[in-house]
């Protein structure tokens, strides 16, 4: 369970998050949708202890991420595809992460096979395509078999087969009762993968939607999203 309460973040005098509150429940895939500059990545970075909030709190399982001992067993996350040393092999990258959390090398080999990187496990990451680096990031997130999965734009750079693989993996993880939070700016992808969608604009929660209810409302996710974010978008094209 993820709980974000009254989260505010200022960069200098510029607000990135403005008293943002939401919860992410286990057993479903929750999409985190918003235009550029809405505060999605900032929220995830605070949630994962990489940034400090100006005020408010972001908790996973009732605790701030920084207080979790050996967190890879509880939370798996991918925030950036370019997050491995390019001179290190994929196996060594995962070995280094696994060692800090008491995870064995057999598990490293298993997740490399699971994400389809077993054949290139001993190649340097610098030679990987963007899609392969995304898969490596996901392998890192799965290392500790965690109950909470947080992914920021995971389908960037993936081919059609990779996108389908991510979609089915996330849905299967949620079906096992895990908490899955998927941040994306791709509405079609979120509509296909998520059960619930949190729509963010200018650092605030604009709405919380159940994807299953959209046909009842007679609207697509795109309709709802554009209506909600139209006023909140940081940068908007001027119509001709």
């Amino acid at each position: 369970m993820i709980a974000v309460r009254e989260l505010t973040k200022l960069y200098g005098h510029t607000p990135a998050l403005d008293r943002l509150s939401f919860e992410v429940r286990p057993g479903v895939v929750t999409g985190f949708l918003g235009p550029n500059g809405a505060g999605k990545s900032t929220t995830l970075r605070i949630l994962l202890g990489l940034h400090r909030p100006t005020s408010g709190e972001a908790l996973i399982g009732g605790r701030p991420y920084r207080r979790i001992r050996r967190p890879l067993h509880e939370v798996g996350a991918v925030l950036d595809a370019d997050a491995a040393h390019p001179g290190r092999t994929a196996r060594h990258h995962l070995d280094c992460l696994a060692r800090t959390n008491g995870i064995g090398r057999a598990r490293v080999a298993a997740v490399l096979a699971e994400v389809g990187l077993a054949a290139v496990a001993d190649k340097r990451v610098g030679g990987f395509s963007l899609g392969m680096r995304q898969r490596l990031g996901i392998a890192g997130a799965l290392l500790g078999d965690p109950g909470v999965i947080v992914l920021d734009e995971p389908v960037n750079g993936l081919d059609a087969a990779g996108i389908r693989w991510i979609r089915s993996t996330l849905r299967s993880l949620a079906a096992q009762g895990r908490t899955v939070l998927l941040s994306s700016h791709l509405m079609s992808e979120v509509a296909l993968t998520a059960d619930r969608v949190l729509i963010l604009g200018r650092g605030r929660l604009l709405d919380e939607i159940s994807v299953a209810d959209l046909p009842v409302r007679g609207a697509t996710l795109e309709d709802v999203y554009l209506r909600l974010t139209g006023e909140a978008a940081e940068f908007r094209a001027v119509p001709r």
Binding site: R45, R69, L72, A83, T100
Partner: protein, 259 residues
């Protein structure tokens, strides 16, 4: 304690699995070999000179020439333990795996100290052993040691100097986050500042030179040197360098947003 050991083991694995570590070690080996070459030329010149000219020779302690370069290259490994993670983005996964930043930096500092101490010891031993072979039974003032036991303080304090420099490198890396900035600053402290000190008036040259990193090991050993610190004073200044660098590094690493 188990968690600290696991994090330190992971840091050791990180260090072993990137090529830059070996490139910096190769730099230290090259500096040691260059020092031996200089010593060989000095020994040949000594042999060719008259007895009167030989008396004017300076002591051929190779650590004076070699160890500042060794300290720079090993210190660079300490700096890269932090800066390479910021420049490649791998600090993200590192902090997701170990979000307790004090613990992560502590493990890095322990490893930087160990690599600095062991690396310094190995290179100081190589330099001193090579010098003993080249000097043979040639007399003072060229030969700084009557017996091998006389060289022990030189070797140990030289290793301590590299240990301190590696910790300073790590602290600089944590504060500056950029490899280029950290290595430039480290090079300035270890290699450039002693040269600049020579341009100062003598009184200031001695005051300033006494607290510079490359001049501390000789003062710690209580060897024959022109500087002002006692061995205890040199030890205190070395401890201050470590405390200041790691303290500033820890404050920056803990307080600032990571990416």
């Amino acid at each position: 304690m188990t968690l600290f050991l696991d994090v330190a083991a992971a840091e050791w694995m990180k260090l072993r699995t990137v090529r830059s570590t070996y490139a910096f070690l190769a730099g230290a080996v090259t500096a040691t070999l260059a020092g031996m070459l200089i010593l060989l030329l000095m020994v040949r010149a000594f042999d060719a000179d008259t007895l009167a000219d030989r008396a004017a020779y300076e002591t051929a302690d190779p650590t004076v020439v070699v160890m500042p370069f060794v300290a720079f290259f090993v210190g660079a490994i300490g700096a890269m333990m932090v800066t390479s993670e910021f420049t490649t983005g791998s600090v993200g996964p590192a902090l997701l795996a170990v979000p307790q930043r004090r613990l992560l930096l502590g493990a890095k500092a322990a490893l930087a100290g160990a690599v600095g101490g062991v690396g310094g010891l190995v290179f100081a031993l190589l330099a001193v052993s090579g010098a003993m072979l080249l000097l043979g039974d040639r007399p003072a003032p060229l030969n700084p040691w009557h017996a091998w036991t006389d060289a022990v303080p030189t070797v140990l304090t030289a290793a301590a100097g590299v240990l301190v420099t590696a910790c300073v490198g790590l602290g600089l890396g944590a504060v500056l986050r950029s490899t280029a900035s950290a290595l430039l600053t480290l090079g300035g402290l270890v290699l450039v500042a002693p040269v600049l000190a020579h341009f100062l008036p003598v009184t200031w040259q001695l005051r300033f030179g006494s607290v510079l990193l490359p001049n501390l090991p000789a003062q710690l050993a209580g060897a024959d040197h022109p500087y002002l610190l006692s061995p205890a004073g040199a030890a205190a200044v070395m401890a201050l360098y470590v405390a200041a660098a790691l303290g500033a590094g820890a404050a920056a690493f803990r307080q600032r947003d990571a990416t």
